[in-house]
């Protein structure tokens, strides 16, 4: 029973972060039709900036806010400098087919990931460092047993759920949010009906950048910070997004918690060697049984 509770708690707090990563992926996928593999590279970079600020004596919360803003700005820059010029090239021969239009941005985002990791190595050296948590990392006691669930985990889950609620409200209730949805559904029609599609696209990138920076800030206190530490988080986040449905923010959150649980239960009950295989199994299972994911729309583009 102890192990069960421990696995449950551990899965919840990890799952919350994977949900956030998946959310970031989903927003850009909806807004720009691109799966951004550089996302956790951006998060790593902004977390390093926060880490440097804290080491230099700034407060945690200032660093926290700066990192999120940097994440958003980085997202916009990527869109303007790389992704938008790419999508303007649709007419060239190489990008004339739909499959290549899907592949080329993925390759570009991998290049961006490489650049960010190399830059982080050059600027901050490759040594692993820790990253502080704003709240205690000592577990609560449940029925006389200390559980792997801390005040920091409560903070993580609160932040993630709030972010999700705000995102949903934003998409459903605000004019900009509705414009973004319209652009996602059909950018030609959206443009004809007067929506500034370039603006809404950039906004998706900003959103996603901020969300993933937040994920970086929340996950590094329980792992270590190095140029490569977040690679795995991206891969798990991708799995979560596919499980939930690539075009559904709510699905991303469900997928995140689900994958978090799977990983947690496999490592508590199975053996840790099997974690990656378990992730692969979950991914293949979903892709075979329900390729559009749990909450994915029926006509989701699966190019």
């Amino acid at each position: 029973m102890d192990t069960f509770l421990a696995a449950l708690f551990s899965g919840t707090s990890r799952g919350a972060i994977y949900a956030l990563v998946a959310l970031g992926l989903v927003i850009v996928w909806r807004g720009a039709g691109i799966l951004n593999y550089a996302q956790m590279g951006q998060a790593m970079f902004s977390t390093y900036i926060a880490s440097t600020m804290i080491t230099n004596g700034n407060s945690y919360w200032l660093a926290f806010v700066v990192a999120i803003v940097v994440g958003a700005v980085m997202g916009v820059l990527l869109d303007i400098l790389v992704m938008r010029p790419l999508s303007n090239k649709k007419k060239t021969e190489l990008l004339s087919s739909e499959s290549m239009r899907a592949a080329i941005p993925v390759i570009a985002s991998l290049g961006i990931l490489g650049v960010l990791q190399a830059l982080a190595g050059i600027i901050w050296a490759a040594e692993e460092r820790g990253f502080p948590a704003p709240y205690a990392q000592e577990g609560f006691t449940v029925a006389g047993n200390v559980m792997p669930f801390t005040s920091f985990d409560v903070f993580v889950i609160t932040v993630v759920l709030t972010t999700l609620a705000l995102t949903t409200l934003f998409f459903k209730k605000t004019g900009v949010g509705l414009a973004m949805r319209a652009t996602a559904l059909n950018s030609e029609v959206a443009r004809l009906s007067g929506i500034r599609t370039n603006f809404t696209r950039s906004l998706s990138w900003a959103f996603s950048g901020a969300a993933s920076s937040l994920a970086g800030l929340l996950i590094t206190p329980t792992s270590n910070l190095s140029p490569n530490t977040l690679d795995l988080v991206l891969i798990i986040g991708f799995t979560a997004a596919v499980v939930g449905g690539l075009d559904s923010p709510a699905g991303a959150v469900i997928g995140g918690f689900l994958v978090g649980m799977v990983i947690s239960f496999v490592s508590f009950y199975g053996s840790p060697e099997d974690v990656f295989l378990a992730i692969l199994a979950v991914l293949l299972l979903v892709l075979i049984i329900r390729p559009r994911g749990i909450l994915g729309a029926k006509d989701a583009r699966r190019v």
């Binding site: 192990t3 692993e128 792997p148 140029p227 490569n228 795995l232 508590f268």
Partner: protein, 449 residues
Amino acid sequence: MRNRASLSRSPRSFISTAAVVLAGALALSAVPAQGASTPGVSATEIVLGMQLPQTGPASPGYNKVDDAMRAYFDYVNSKGGVYGRKITLVTKDDTYKAGLTVSTASALINKDKVFAMVGSIGTQTHISVIKDINRRGIPDLFVNSGYSGFYTDPKKYPTTFGGLGTYIVEAKILGKHIKENFAKNTVGIVYQTDDFGRNTVEGLATAGVTFTPKKTAATFIAGTQGSGLDAQMQQLKDNNVDVVVVGAVASAFAAAVASANKIGYKPAQWIVISVGADATTFQTILGARGIPAASSAGLLAGTISASHAPSPGEADDEFVKAFKKINDDFNKGPDKRWDNNILQGMNIGYLTTSALLGAGKDLTRPGIIKYIESNAAKLSSAALAPLGYSTKTHEAFTGFWIGKYDAATVLKPIDATRKVWTTDSAKGAVTELKYTRPAIAADALPKVG
């Protein structure tokens, strides 16, 4: 038709362009020819090569060893070098990926024309090149790995010599201590599932300390400790383990302690294999997670570990004193904080210099191998155990002493006077060792009689 155009390009243009590209590749990476008879040795210089992870997940801590070695060589050079020859250390970053190690070895051998490899770090990566290095007769000195498979059969790897005591020897010695002192406790282990972790389990088993998989033995894939060891610690806690052996690197030891702390798991005793008992890495990682140095020192205090060398915290030790001074004056690396890794680097530097001096003015590859194999007694270092090199084995330090961390993160002998234990990498018994370490000279340079 558009596509056809691209395919019917004449082969001639393919070839001419490819030729230009290859010629360009050659021009830019051309290797200067060397005339010396023994590669890497000239009248004024000895070139040595080293491979290690300087970047990437496996690099923390280890990336300080090469800077310490270079610092010692620079010190030797400042004193006139070895028979007037300057020692140059060329290091290559293989990021702990064996595919890359093959390429960096080729660069060291063919491009930098090194005389010998020295102090290379990493078992898996070294496996990928050891055969080739040996086949070429290149001395493969003082490898920073405790994997006994490299050293116990000199016929297989005649040019390879160890630079650490083997994992098995250390585990057997710690196993004997556990058997004698914790017979009433439930002993468990958390280890990384690579050669290091498994050799540790093997050595402990030889000493009679065994574990039940999934119950008292928890495992993780080396390199994944970054995401925490919660599940592993919970498993040991659930199985009422009160003595935890850690067969893992320092960042994993820190992760294990952090996870145990998180779930309120307080084993009566932590026992850490020397590779993982690096106080600096431990405190750095916990410190950055918001655990101040005073608290992390408290978490480390009481932990049992073993060592072949003095603890870096033993300020009175003459070797520690001398090496620390050289580190302050000559280390140009990005992180020169004095710790186990720096001490080990200095020690390998000292040992290498002894071997180069001992091999004589007329330095050749077979010469230095022969010298090390037959003069182990003349070679010494900061280590408190002798070197085991002979024609039968190329294992380095054959002994370990057992200590406990005090509140100031210094490993102090567990017995009133320091006892050094010895054994072999097979099934032999663990016995006490009497060894008096030769003193270090006033100029901190090795003297070979």
